[in-house]
């Protein structure tokens, strides 16, 4: 028995790599096959893999740590993922399977990694994901039933800016940044995450029908205020996300390449200014350029992250065999390094590809959506989502300077998980509306042809008579 367990823990990482890679391949397969029987079968395979990966991971954790709490967590996590998959299938039938599966895969992976770092945090995360889901499940319905979303443009801007300002003035400092505050003693709340969604609604509201220059300039001012507040709060990652999202939304809404170039030039200018005037920006750049010379202070976090990835190598050291806690703030900003360290860089690459897959699926939906307002929102969500991934992973592997943002769904952090889930369900909602409309249209068309044919037959009859 003991031998069997030992065998299992030695080879479990290879099993996981195989399953995650298979999941990723299936996902890309689904992206390229249209909806049909093959698509459905691949989706079901993916769902099986989600649960299989969880099973292997938690079994490994429980055996190696000899801590049965992992089994409780495992049970809860499985029940929750089953509930998410089951309820969404049951209520919405035609949901986007790629996005739904990816969400569950990433959430499951997150539960496992967080519990490996800190079991009690994993239980908290589980609770927050549960609450988020209970709210999110209504989002598609709400989007369908309520039509005044596009009329609240300035309301979004005011709420967003004031939320960010409140944090700037009253927020607590964590990791050098002022980005969160605590309610009721224990619930930490990070408004910039939620403002990301408000910001998209604002931009979509302002730009879905009017594209003239003054309108764009006005939105630029509002976007600028968001970005400046975030930069002063030392939330550089969010500041960048807002900026990039703004530029790309304006570009896609107006289809004017000049704005894209203006945005790029403005971004470079702003980056130079920020580098000149903000000490914390210079520190990040310094730690990126030459972390090894500042290994004790500025470069500590990034070099520890590189140690983790380098030590893990392609196949990883195996769960609980590494030392991820050497990286400060590992559970939020550097969870990817832990994945690479213990599950291997191959698994890490697959996770990134899964995120990329979600992005591609979202932007394909954006291409198809007819309603400009919702199109901009879906597209904005896709951009925010992928750009955040680029920032957190690129920062953790020294591809770009560190900005300290989370890996959506995988990192610990309630605000992040909840916001990302809202985003996924908004996309689902828009997608469902679109499908419904298409069906409505084709029904209508079919109906009309029948009518026409009937009419033609009638006239023919008449003529014959």
């Amino acid at each position: 028995m003991q031998y069997a367990l030992s065998y299992f823990t030695e080879i479990s990482k290879y099993i996981i790599i195989g399953m995650v890679a298979a999941y990723t391949l299936l996902g890309f397969g689904m992206l390229f096959t249209g909806r049909g029987k093959a698509f459905k079968i691949m989706g079901i395979c993916q769902e099986c893999l989600i649960f299989a990966v969880q099973a292997v991971q938690f079994m490994h954790l429980a055996i190696v740590s000899a801590n049965q709490d992992y089994l409780f967590l495992y049970l809860f996590a499985q029940v929750m993922l089953l509930a998410i998959l089951g309820l969404v299938h049951f209520i919405y039938e035609k949901e986007n399977l790629i996005l739904l599966n990816n969400m569950c895969m990433l959430l499951g992976f997150g539960f496992c990694m967080i519990s490996r770092l800190d079991l009690s945090k994993a239980f908290r995360q589980l609770a927050i994901v549960g609450i988020s889901f209970v709210i999110s499940i209504f989002i598609p319905e709400i989007l369908k039933k309520i039509h005044f979303w596009r009329d609240l443009t300035w309301f979004y801007a005011v709420i967003g800016v004031s939320a960010l300002s409140v944090v700037l003035l009253l927020g607590e400092v964590s990791g050098g940044s002022k980005i969160s505050f605590t309610i009721a003693g224990s619930i930490t709340f990070q408004p910039s995450e939620f403002v990301k969604i408000l910001f998209l609604f604002f931009l979509a509201g302002a730009l879905w029908e009017e594209h003239h220059f003054w309108n764009v300039a006005l939105t630029a001012v509002v976007a600028g205020i968001h970005v400046i507040i975030l930069t002063i709060s030392v939330d550089l990652g969010s500041a960048l996300i807002f900026f990039v999202t703004y530029v790309l939304i304006v570009f896609v809404a107006t289809r004017n390449y000049l704005y894209l170039f203006l945005g790029a030039a403005g971004g470079c200018g702003a980056a130079v200014l920020a580098y000149r005037f903000f000490h914390h920006v210079r520190v990040r750049v310094l730690a990126w350029q030459d972390p090894w010379s500042y290994i004790d202070h500025e470069g500590y976090q990034i070099t520890q992250s590189l140690f983790a990835i380098g030590s893990g190598n392609w196949f990883g050291m195996g769960l609980l065999n590494g030392n991820p806690k050497a990286i400060p703030r590992v559970d939020r900003d550097f969870i990817f390094s832990t994945v690479c360290e213990e599950m291997g860089v191959i698994t890490g690459i697959c996770l990134v590809l899964i995120c990329l897959l979600s992005f591609l699926a979202m932007s394909e939906i954006a291409v198809k959506v007819q309603d400009c307002f919702y199109q901009l929102i879906v597209y904005g969500i896709a951009v925010e989502y992928l750009f955040q991934i680029l920032l957190t992973i690129g920062g953790g592997i020294k591809f770009i300077p560190m900005t300290g943002v989370t890996l959506p769904f995988v990192s610990y952090g309630g605000s992040s998980a909840m916001t990302t889930m809202f985003m996924y369900f908004i996309v689902q909602g828009v997608c469902l509306m679109m499908i419904q409309q298409e069906e409505g249209e084709s029904d209508e068309r079919d109906g009309k042809t029948i009518e026409k044919n009937a009419g033609r037959r009638r006239t023919e009859k008449k003529r014959l008579q």
């Binding site: 065998y7 896609v252 520890q304 590189l306 990835i309 750009f387 591809f399």
Partner: protein, 505 residues
């Protein structure tokens, strides 16, 4: 799409709820291009990032694990015990011994003999223990034995490392250097394998934790310094190899006609260069200047050289550059100021004095490049990594660094170095059953005294070089008297015992 638009009118009434939406449909149907463009951009960025990650993973594993800031070394060591280090012939140079309670002790059966090159692994790491650390603490034994160990609560044996070191040569070198301070490097010319590396004074790595405090607290102690790779010495007359090379490069047509009347001293303006002990060499040509190591003649040649060309030659010969060597080492240096009046520095440099400094390993690399027809092989000491159950994990192969000098330049320098043995300062090496070639040096390291470091760098056999030997004996006297006998002792062991033994097998 057009059809929908055409039908828009009547449909508006039909689906009253979505009236507003239907109106906008035409607006955005064609920004698909822009959206896909951005998708493509992000796709490219992500793929670029993953390539970066893959490259990092493929290239950096060892460095990452070996960094002392990386706590994962301790984790590996808590699961594996350090592997063994072997000499080329299979002799154990270092091993971890476990007692009944699984307590580990690192043992070095040869004591002081391999102190610097094999090094130590507690109190920091040095030598092969540092170079091969990653391999020694990782294990590649079969899964079955790993699990067996796991279940029985034993640690896994780390992988074993075979070096290129030869115990007999190392012992000969150590005995030859005797009680003198100094260093010896012996390499294989055609491969760059380090066969032996000795640095005196040495220490017993078995007792490193006991002597550590004393060694660290004594600021004047250089016991832990590996003189062979880290010791910087004035090259003395061995540097004439480089001056001769540059003189040849600048006077390809006429160097055979070179002639100089040596009266024991060369004067240029107010600067004077004396021959060793003011000896007067009489009339010398290019070859005999070199063979007799005539300072006056070389100062004369040096004063005619083009400084920027000489600087370039020296840089190409890796002066002031990082050496292609994984052992920790110092950079050799030279000083050739553009304006120098009187031409004191220039003349000093051409005879290897002045501000020129070189490490023994660097001189050995230059010599063996000459012996190897101009091509430098990177010196290396790790031969292969083998798991405890005998599987080869990694094999290291000879690596060509590149060409340092042309074939005819190498040929000329070999001729000069052969002359040193035949009719110059290293005649002790004549008639030994092997034909050696080389250059001696007596490097003055204090302005006021006659003390000098004794140098010899050379190779044998002269016609088809196998090994290259570089010797420095500190504060001993002339190279001919003190370094050449050391080299002879090493050549003797190599050709009379080792090579003969190999032949008879």
């Amino acid at each position: 799409m057009k059809k929908t638009q055409a039908d828009g009118g009547p449909r508006k009434n039909a689906s009253n709820k979505n009236s507003r939406k239907s109106a906008d449909r035409k607006k955005n149907a064609d920004n698909a291009l822009e959206i896909r463009l951005v998708s493509l951009l992000f796709f490219g960025l992500i793929i670029g990032m993953l390539v970066f990650l893959g490259k990092f993973t493929a290239e950096n594993e060892q460095e990452m694990i070996n960094n002392s800031y990386n706590s994962r070394q301790q984790i590996l060591l808590s699961r594996n015990y350090r592997g063994k280090i072997f000499a080329a012939g299979g002799e154990v140079l270092a091993e971890t011994v476990l007692d009944e309670k699984q307590n580990e002790k690192r043992s070095y059966p040869y004591g002081e003999l391999f102190s610097h090159i094999v090094g130590y692994s507690s109190q920091g790491r040095m030598g092969v223990e540092a170079l091969a650390n990653y391999y020694l603490i990782n294990t590649n034994i079969a899964l079955k034995s790993k699990i067996q160990n796991d279940v029985e609560g034993r640690k896994n044996p780390g992988d074993n490392v075979y070096t290129t070191l030869n115990v007999d040569l190392q012992r000969a070198a150590d005995q030859q250097l005797s009680l003198y301070r100094g260093a010896i490097v012996v390499t294989e010319v055609k491969t760059g394998k380090i066969l032996s590396m000795v640095s005196h004074p040495d220490f017993d790595p078995n007792e490193i934790s006991d002597i550590w405090e004393d060694l660290i607290n004594d600021k004047d102690s250089t016991v832990l310094l590996n003189r062979a790779t880290q010791g910087l010495y004035p090259p003395g007359s061995t540097f004439k190899i480089l001056t001769a090379l540059e003189y040849y490069r600048e006077n390809k047509e006429t160097y055979r006609n070179y002639s100089f009347q040596c009266g024991g001293v060369f004067t240029q303006g107010t600067s004077k260069i004396h021959c060793y002990h003011n000896a007067s060499h009489g009339r010398v040509d290019f070859v005999s200047s070199f063979a007799k190591s005539c300072n006056a003649s070389f100062a004369n040649m040096g004063s005619q050289l083009d400084r920027s060309d000489f600087s370039l030659t020296l840089q190409n010969m890796l002066f002031g550059q990082e050496l292609p060597l994984t052992l920790s080492h110092s950079k050799s240096a030279f000083y050739l100021p553009e304006y120098d009046d009187p031409e004191y520095e220039m003349m000093q440099t051409s005879i290897g004095q002045g501000k020129t400094q070189i490490t023994p390993i660097h001189l050995n690399m230059i010599t063996s490049a000459i012996a190897n027809d101009g091509i430098l092989m990177e010196p290396y000491v790790l031969d292969r990594v083998v798991s405890e159950d005998g599987q080869t994990v990694k094999k290291f192969y000879p690596t060509e660094y590149g060409r340092l000098l042309s074939e005819d330049e190498a040929q000329l320098l070999r001729e000069l170095m052969e002359a040193v043995v035949l009719k110059g300062n290293a005649q002790l090496l004549k008639g030994q059953g092997y034909v050696a070639a080389g250059k001696t040096g007596s490097a003055e390291y204090k302005d006021s005294s006659d003390d000098s470091h004794a140098w010899f760098t050379g190779y044998a056999p002269a016609d088809d070089p196998e090994i290259c030997v570089t010797v420095i004996v500190e504060s001993a006297g002339t190279g001919g008297d003190y370094a050449v006998p050391v080299a002879k002792g090493i050549f003797d062991v190599y050709f009379h015992q080792i090579a003969a033994g190999n032949a008879s097998e």
